[in-house]
């Protein structure tokens, strides 16, 4: 008997599960467990989705401050380039499992080429015409490589917020 098998004191009624447990023991696997209730996990995401009603696009990491935002033509601080208008309103489907997904479309009409693509997004409390508070953000997919001036950058049910262990 191997050391891993010796550690398996419990005898499983279902032999298949027993074999899975042996494999897990060999790998020193540990079950992921956040020790948090669904209610708390839901509340964490709701902090963003109930007040984070506006989507931004970023040329680099927004970090914890909303940095590297691509500024729209009607936003405060605009000088040139960017996109037409301001941050776009976003709505959300009901929380499901451990994630929540947007359920509408946001379109950003670029006024300048984004040579390095749009690698990040952000969520804000306001559209940016007179400020707003940055809530959080993340990475994008499908928007790498140069995106030309005049392109419409589109997110359709595209934003997913998930709780990770």
């Amino acid at each position: 008997m191997s050391p891993a098998e010796r550690r398996l004191i419990h005898i499983f009624r279902d032999p298949e599960i027993g074999e899975m447990a042996k494999v897990a023991a060999y790998l020193d696997a540990v079950m992921a467990n956040t020790y948090l209730s669904t209610a708390v996990i839901t509340a964490m995401i709701a902090c963003l989705t109930t007040t984070g009603a506006f989507l931004s696009i970023h040329s680099g990491s927004p970090s914890t401050t909303g940095a590297n935002e691509i500024i729209g033509s009607t936003m405060s601080g605009y000088s040139s380039g960017g996109f037409t208008g301001a941050r776009k309103a976003i709505t959300w489907a009901a929380f499901s499992g451990t994630s929540q997904v947007s359920n509408d479309t946001q379109t950003f009409a670029l006024l300048a080429t984004q040579a390095s693509g749009i690698p990040n997004f952000g969520l804000w409390t306001a559209d940016g015409t007179s400020g707003g508070t940055y809530l959080g953000g993340g990475t994008t997919s499908g928007l790498s490589g140069s995106i030309p001036n005049g392109a419409n950058v589109i997110f359709t049910n595209g934003v997913t917020l998930s709780v990770a262990d």
């Binding site: 020790y35 959080g136 953000g137 993340g138 997110f155």
Partner: protein, 46 residues
């Protein structure tokens, strides 16, 4: 303490170029808005 979790966000996007209403240069060979040439339009090589 065992409490640990973080919120991870991902945005899936795409981009498209609206169809250009070409404005031809004086030589009528190059669109002044998008840069496509008449030859490219004819051959479909755009």
């Amino acid at each position: 303490m065992g409490l640990q979790a973080s919120v991870v966000g991902v945005a899936v996007g795409t981009w498209v170029l609206p169809e250009c209403e070409h404005v031809w240069s004086e030589t009528a060979e190059v669109c002044e808005k998008c840069g496509v040439t008449r030859l490219e339009l004819v051959t479909g090589d755009v």
